[in-house]
Amino acid sequence: MAATLDIKGVEKTFSIDGRAVPALAGVDLKVEPGEFLTVLGASGCGKSTLLRLIAGLDTSYEGSISLDGQRIRGPSLDRGIVFQEPRLFPWLTAARNVALALENAPLAREAKRRAVDEHLALVGLSSFGNAYPHQLSGGMAQRVAIARGLVNRPEILLLDEPFGALDALTRAHLQDELQRIQQDEQITTVLVTHDVEEAVYLGDRVIVMAPRPGRVAHVFDIDLPRPRRRTDDRLVQQRARILETLEEISGESARPLATQPVGPLEARPALA
C-alpha cells in the first residue's frame, strides 16, 4: 500500500546569474494514499520544480517532504515521473526506451518484455516498438514517455503535463487508461496540467498554484464518484469556478494568463 505524501513548509530558491529567484515558498500539502491530485497554475509558478523535489531529484530546499514520516532523500523505484519533455534516449528504440524503466526491476527477462509490449499497446504504439525517437512525432514520443512512467507501476506517480502534445481523441483515451490503472492499483498520483477540464475530470482534488513565489493558492475538492461523465453538470460548474480563480490570480499578478488553454465548451475569458 502506498504511503502518505506529506509536504511541509517547502521553500525552494534558485539563483540565476547571482540573483535569488524564489520558485516555491511555503508549500504545504498532504496527499493521501491512492489519491489523484491535479495541479493547475500559470507558467513558471513552480509546478515542475515541486514534482522534481517529490521525485527526489533535488534535495536542496527548505522544509520537508516525507512519505509516512520518512524524509525523501533521493529517487526511488516506488516513485515514477513522466517529465514535461519526453526525454527519450535517441540511440534506443521506443521499446527499449520503455524497457529502461525495468532495468533494475526485480522481474524475469520474459516478464519485462511482456510488460514493455503491453504498455506500448496501452499508448497505441505497438507497431512502433522498433522505431527510433527521431522517427516519432512529438505526441508519439510523449506517449512512449508515458508508457515508460507506467511500466514499473510505481506507488506514487508524478506526471508533468503528460497529455499536452496529444490530439483530443488520444488524450481522452489516455486520460481514461491512466484513471483506470490509477484506480485499479490505487497509485497515488500527482498530475500537472494546463487543462482545467482535465484537472477536474481526473482529480480527487485540484490545487491551483500562484506564481512569484510559487505557492498553493486554492484547493478544490472534486467529490464525484467514478467513473465520471465529462459532461456532468457538477464538473462543468467546478470548472467554471476554477477558471474564475485562475483569472483572479492572473489579475493579481497583473499579467495575462495566455498559457491557459480553455476547453472548447467554455467561453474563453477575456485576456487582461
Partner: protein, 285 residues
C-alpha cells in the same frame, strides 16, 4: 488493454514501412555518384600532368611523367621494397595511435566526469595542445634517443590530443535530462556510465578518434622525415637526396591513399555506430 488505432496512425505506419527500401536504393545511387565525383578532380590533375610531361613543360628531373612514376611503383612493389616500408610505417602508427588512444580516452573520460580533475588538468592539456607535435622532437630525442621509442612517442602525442579534447567535451555534453531519467530508475554509477554517458558521447568521441588517426599519420611522416632509415617518410627524404623525383611522388601518393583508406574505414564504422542519428531519408540529422 485497448489499442488506439486511428487512421492517421495506420497511414503513418504505412509510410514508415514503404520508405525503407526506396531510400536505400536512392542512397546507393547517391553513394556511387558521390564516389565518382570525388575522382573527377584527381583525374583532371593526372591528365594535366600527362599533358605537361608530353609537351615538356617541365624538365623530367623536376616532374617525371606519370608512366615513369607508375613504373617505379611496379618495380618497388615487385621487389617487396615498398611493402617493407609500408609495413614499418603502419606498425609505428598502430603502436603510437594505440598508446595515444588509451591515454587520451582514459584521461578524457576522467576529466569529463570529474570537475576536480578537470580543474587540475585541463589548463595543462590546453597548453600541451598548443605545441606542434614536431616541437616535441628535440626534447624527446634527448630522453628517448632516435629509435622506435621516439617515433611511437611522437605519434602517440599527436593522436592523444584530439582524442582527449573530444572525449572530455563529449562526456560534459551528455544531456542532464537523460541522466535524471537514469537516476529516477535507480541506475548505479556504473549503469549510468555504460547506458547513458557512453552511448551519448560516442559520436563526438569518434570524431576525436578520426582526427587522432589523421594526426598520427601526419606525425609519422614528419618524424620519419627527421629521423629514420625506413618507412614511407624516409622514402621521401631518400628520393629527394638521390634526386629520384619519381620515388618522392610515389611515396606521397602512397601516404595519401593509405591515409584516405584509414579515414574512410573509420568513417564507415562511425556511421554504423550511430545509425540512430541517420534521419528517415538517410541524411545524417
Amino acid at each position: 488493454m485497448r489499442i488506439v488505432t486511428d487512421i492517421s496512425m495506420t497511414a503513418a505506419l504505412g509510410a514508415f514501412r514503404t520508405q525503407a527500401p526506396r531510400t536505400r536504393a536512392r542512397g546507393w545511387v547517391r553513394l556511387v555518384v558521390t564516389a565518382l565525383a570525388g575522382f573527377i578532380v584527381p583525374l583532371l590533375a593526372l591528365l594535366l600532368w600527362q599533358v605537361s610531361a608530353s609537351r615538356d613543360w617541365l624538365p623530367q628531373q623536376i616532374l617525371p611523367p606519370p608512366d615513369m612514376v607508375w613504373q617505379s611503383f611496379v618495380d618497388m612493389v615487385k621487389s617487396g621494397e615498398l611493402l617493407g616500408h609500408i609495413e614499418i610505417s603502419l606498425q609505428r602508427v598502430v603502436e603510437g595511435f594505440a598508446l595515444g588512444a588509451v591515454i587520451g580516452l582514459t584521461l578524457g573520460f576522467s576529466i569529463g566526469l570529474s570537475p576536480i580533475l578537470d580543474d587540475y588538468l585541463s589548463p595543462l592539456i590546453t597548453a600541451f595542445a598548443q605545441v606542434p607535435t614536431l616541437g616535441w622532437v628535440p626534447l624527446l630525442m634527448i630522453l628517448l634517443g632516435i629509435d622506435e621509442g621516439l617515433k611511437v612517442a611522437i605519434i602517440a602525442i599527436a593522436a592523444f590530443i584530439p582524442m582527449v579534447i573530444n572525449t572530455r567535451a563529449a562526456v560534459r555534453a551528455v544531456p542532464q535530462g537523460l541522466l535524471e531519467v537514469a537516476r529516477c530508475f535507480m541506475y548505479t554509477r556504473r549503469q549510468q556510465l555504460l547506458r547513458v554517458v557512453l552511448p551519448a558521447s560516442v559520436p563526438t568521441i569518434f570524431t576525436g578518434i578520426r582526427y587522432g588517426l589523421t594526426h598520427a599519420w601526419k606525425a609519422l611522416v614528419g618524424v620519419e622525415l627527421l629521423a629514420s632509415a625506413e618507412g614511407l617518410g624516409y622514402l621521401l627524404v631518400w628520393g629527394r637526396q638521390m634526386f629520384w623525383l619519381d620515388m618522392v611522388l610515389l611515396a606521397m601518393a602512397v601516404i595519401g591513399v593509405l591515409g584516405f583508406a584509414m579515414d574512410y574505414g573509420l568513417a564507415r564504422i562511425e556511421r554504423r555506430l550511430q545509425r540512430w542519428r541517420i534521419g528517415p531519408l538517410g541524411d545524417p540529422s
